[in-house]
């Protein structure tokens, strides 16, 4: 089964992102939203964790990066921006949603 993992906490503050990365399987997806979007910034310790995740697709919630002043150009390569409708699509297209609250 393919899973959508969601992370809503800053990787600099909490272990949710790291814990999610430790459990995500090839073929699954990770959506970063709320303060979780900070894991999508290029040039931090998180970039390598994102780029080295084999077969995992990363998404970031557009309204949440915009609110936080993060320009799309600063995102780690390969991360796709979605809106809330896209979040809904991700939730329905994968077999289940796992929230790393």
């Amino acid at each position: 089964m393919s899973e959508l993992h969601t992370v809503n906490k800053s990787p600099f503050e909490k272990n949710s992102f790291d814990s999610c990365m430790g459990h995500v399987l090839d073929g699954s997806a990770v959506l970063l939203y709320e303060d979780g979007v900070y894991a999508a910034i290029k040039g931090t310790a998180m970039e390598g964790k994102v780029t080295s995740a084999q077969g995992v697709k990363f998404y970031v919630l557009g309204p949440d990066i915009k609110a936080r002043g993060i320009d799309a150009a600063r995102l780690t390569d390969g991360i796709e921006i979605v809106d809330y409708a896209g979040f809904v699509d991700l939730a329905t297209e994968h077999d289940k949603v796992v929230a790393w609250v």
């Binding site: 899973e3 272990n15 399987l25 699954s28 289940k96 796992v98 929230a99």
Partner: protein, 136 residues
């Protein structure tokens, strides 16, 4: 209440007492046991602290809810997966945990261990195999 049988996993990642998530999660597990679903619990990250033995809140003023874990077996909740790496990072081993058991009706009520220590990668596969994952 429903014809479908689903695989439910309760994902426990929080320490007890500092926040109420662990306790109120346990309340869901107990209520959920009345529904005919296939239930298991995962203890990951600080969630492993929930089932450490010897908890004593007598000087804290709040209720010690840890004995409830020992009752889970009576509710046919007997699949408790504990992540090995999470234990090790916290300086814990299985000997630090409560001894949680259940009685197997099919084997003349033989007492069996409810806890199974699994690796992070095994737990990832267990999670992937579920229909629903509850996070609190």
């Amino acid at each position: 209440m429903s014809e479908q049988i689903k695989k439910f996993l309760y994902l426990n990642r929080r320490a007890p007492y500092g926040t109420i998530y662990a306790w109120e999660s346990l309340e869901v597990v107990l209520i959920g046991a009345a529904f005919d679903q296939k239930v298991s619990l995962a203890f990951v990250d600080d969630g492993v602290f929930e089932i450490v033995k010897g908890q004593d809140t007598s000087e804290s003023g709040f209720k010690n809810f840890s004995p409830t874990y020992a009752a889970l077996g009576d509710y046919d909740v007997n699949q408790l997966f504990v992540e090995k790496e999470s234990l090790e990072e916290r300086g814990l081993s299985i000997d630090d945990l409560m001894h949680l058991t259940w009685e197997d009706e099919d084997e003349d009520w033989a007492e069996k261990d409810s806890i199974r220590v699994v690796s992070r990668s095994e737990l990832s596969e267990i999670m992937a195999d579920q229909d629903v994952v509850f996070s609190f």
